[in-house]
């Protein structure tokens, strides 16, 4: 039998769900393999499963009906995995996300820069440089779990969370950075704001970003922020993206 790059563990989670676990670390090749595997499972099962939910190192396969025989299901799932994702060309996209880093829209920007002993300009350079990897969507509808924050920007969360971070807030918490897709309480430090909608419940694909994609933050001025907000409310703004 050919040896696959990753070994997975399978366990039954509920009467109608199976968890598939990879290693316990954040790893981009593992992400690619999980997303490839997810796709194979979704294509094979079609109507038998409700969906496959992915996170850093797990897939959760949710079935429509109660699982009658866990072991035969696992055999079937195992047969669907291969390392072919290593060869296949991906259809990943890089999304350019406009962010206004200004104290008007992000009142904590200056105090955050002060805490990190850097200028706002340095902070913006560090935050806009990486191509962040989208690992999965969770926590809130349309909230992207991003990997790739510069170590110099890592900052522990606030001791007591703010009652409300506004929709579009771009924030840092621990070793993560993220965008709040709606108003929400949160313990992260807000350093900027994007005018984009990351979640639209009125369309069947409510979030334009897919796990495996990359995003980059582009620094914009307040007048550009206002212009883009106006274009979005008029329904004529398209987010810039390129295939990688």
């Amino acid at each position: 039998m050919k040896k696959n790059k990753f070994e997975f563990q399978y366990e039954q989670y509920t009467e109608n769900a199976i968890l598939i676990k990879g290693s316990s670390e954040i790893d981009e090749i593992l992400l690619d393999s999980l997303l490839f595997y997810k796709n194979e499972i979704e294509n094979y099962y079609n109507k038998v499963i409700v969906e496959v939910i992915s996170s850093y190192n797990w897939l959760l396969v949710c079935y429509v009906d109660v699982i009658e025989d866990f072991y035969s299901e696992v055999l079937m799932l195992k047969s669907l995995y291969s390392d072919d994702f290593l060869k296949k060309s991906s259809k990943k996209r890089l999304w350019k996300i406009p962010v206004c880093y200004s104290s008007q829209l992000a009142p904590e920007l200056e105090s955050f820069a002060g805490k990190k002993s850097m200028t706002i300009k340095e902070l913006i350079t560090l935050h806009t440089a990486p191509l962040y990897t989208v690992f999965f969507i969770g926590f809130l509808p349309g909230f992207l779990y991003l990997g790739g924050l510069d170590k110099k920007l890592v900052t522990s969360r606030k001791a007591s969370p703010s009652a409300k971070l506004e929709k579009g807030s771009v924030a840092i918490g621990g070793n993560q950075t993220g965008i709040y897709p709606c108003d929400s309480p949160g313990g992260w430090h807000v350093i900027g704001k994007t005018p984009l909608d990351f979640f639209n419940p009125n369309i069947s694909n409510p979030c334009f970003v897919t796990p495996g994609d990359k995003i980059q933050f582009i620094s914009i001025k307040e007048n550009e922020y206002n212009d883009i907000s106006f274009l979005i409310s008029s329904g004529i703004f398209t987010v810039e993206s390129i295939f990688l």
């Binding site: 366990e11 039954q12 989670y13 509920t14 009467e15 769900a17 968890l19 676990k21 316990s24 670390e25 954040i26 409700v50 969906e51 496959v52 939910i53 992915s54 996170s55 850093y56 190192n57 797990w58 959760l60 949710c62 699982i67 866990f70 999965f136 969507i137 969770g138 926590f139 809130l140 509808p141 349309g142 909230f143 779990y145 709606c182 979640f199 419940p201 009125n202 069947s204 409510p206 979030c207 796990p211």
Partner: protein, 285 residues
């Protein structure tokens, strides 16, 4: 022809629910859906409805509803006495409602979650293939006084005097059955013993997202990566408090998942009032 039900009094937390929003977890969208799915299914079964017809769900304090057209309804879930224009009826049966009738639910003596089903279901807006209310997905997240919800008229009612005995559907046991969660085996023997032999108390902070349990456990587990969770997942938080995730829970969480409630037990715990005691019991698939 369409008619409307008018919310005269809103109750404590009243929403529209169906089986929930399935297949959108990959976008971070909660499943939502009726808290006690057994009583929800009964509300539709009594009316010979499709099983996913939308109902009104209320929590502890029922709403007062005025129906502006003829229809048939059903009352299931938390034990109460339905009154239509001050005439007393029974739960778990078809109730014919004449145009202009007012429904009051009195003497809520047992349970927490109640349902008002209606022939053909309530015609609430559909978002992501479901009518279940959820903030930022549906335009309202709960029903308020003076709100109106449309429904299809139904006048060809034939009297059915039979009703379903609620004791058949009412499981008031203290025992909540659960499977081992993915992080169960990380617990020490002492922690497992404590988990399965403590009388936990349903917290007053319970809501549609989660039911926290009072009584702390020792928690010395290492932190973990954010991972998938489902309704019924029991998380052990950093402070040692157990949290049972419910229908509106997030799709991922960062606390160890020590147990996973059976589907049946999710419905049972949904009906537990604050300060009621529960015991967790391990079962296998």
């Amino acid at each position: 022809m369409n008619n409307i039900v008018e919310i005269i009094k809103q109750g404590l937390y009243t929403t529209i629910q169906d089986l929930g929003r399935l297949g959108f977890g990959k976008f971070g969208v909660p499943k939502s859906g009726a808290m006690d799915q057994r009583s929800f299914l009964l509300a539709n079964a009594v009316l010979n409805n499709d099983k996913n017809c939308a109902v009104i769900e209320w929590i502890l304090v029922p709403p007062i509803l005025k129906f502006h057209g003829d229809t048939v309804i059903s009352i299931t879930g938390a034990v109460c006495i339905p009154y239509l224009d001050d005439v007393r009826y029974k739960m778990n049966r078809q109730l014919f409602v004449k145009k202009g009738s007012v429904l009051k639910l009195k003497k809520v003596k047992n349970g927490m979650i109640g349902f008002v089903g209606i022939k053909y279901g309530f015609d609430a807006e559909v978002k992501l293939e479901s009518k279940s209310y959820y903030p930022n997905i549906t335009s309202h997240y709960r029903l308020l006084k003076n709100d109106v919800i449309p429904y299809r008229n139904y006048s060809s009612f034939k009297h059915h005097f039979s009703s379903v005995s609620s004791t058949v559907f009412w499981d008031n046991s203290k025992t909540i059955k659960a499977f081992k969660g993915p992080e169960y085996e990380l617990l020490s023997e002492a922690q497992k013993d404590q988990l399965l032999n403590t009388d936990f108390i349903v917290s007053r902070d319970r809501n549609r997202m989660a039911i926290p349990l009072e009584r702390l456990l020792v928690n010395d587990l290492p932190s973990m990566l954010t991972s998938p969770v489902l309704p019924g997942t029991v998380q052990l938080t950093t402070s040692g408090k157990l949290i049972v995730l419910m229908r509106d829970c997030q799709t991922t969480g960062g606390y160890p998942r020590v147990l996973q409630l059976t589907q049946e037990s999710i419905n049972i715990i949904a009906q537990k009032r604050p300060n009621e005691e529960i015991q967790l019991k391990l079962v296998s698939f």
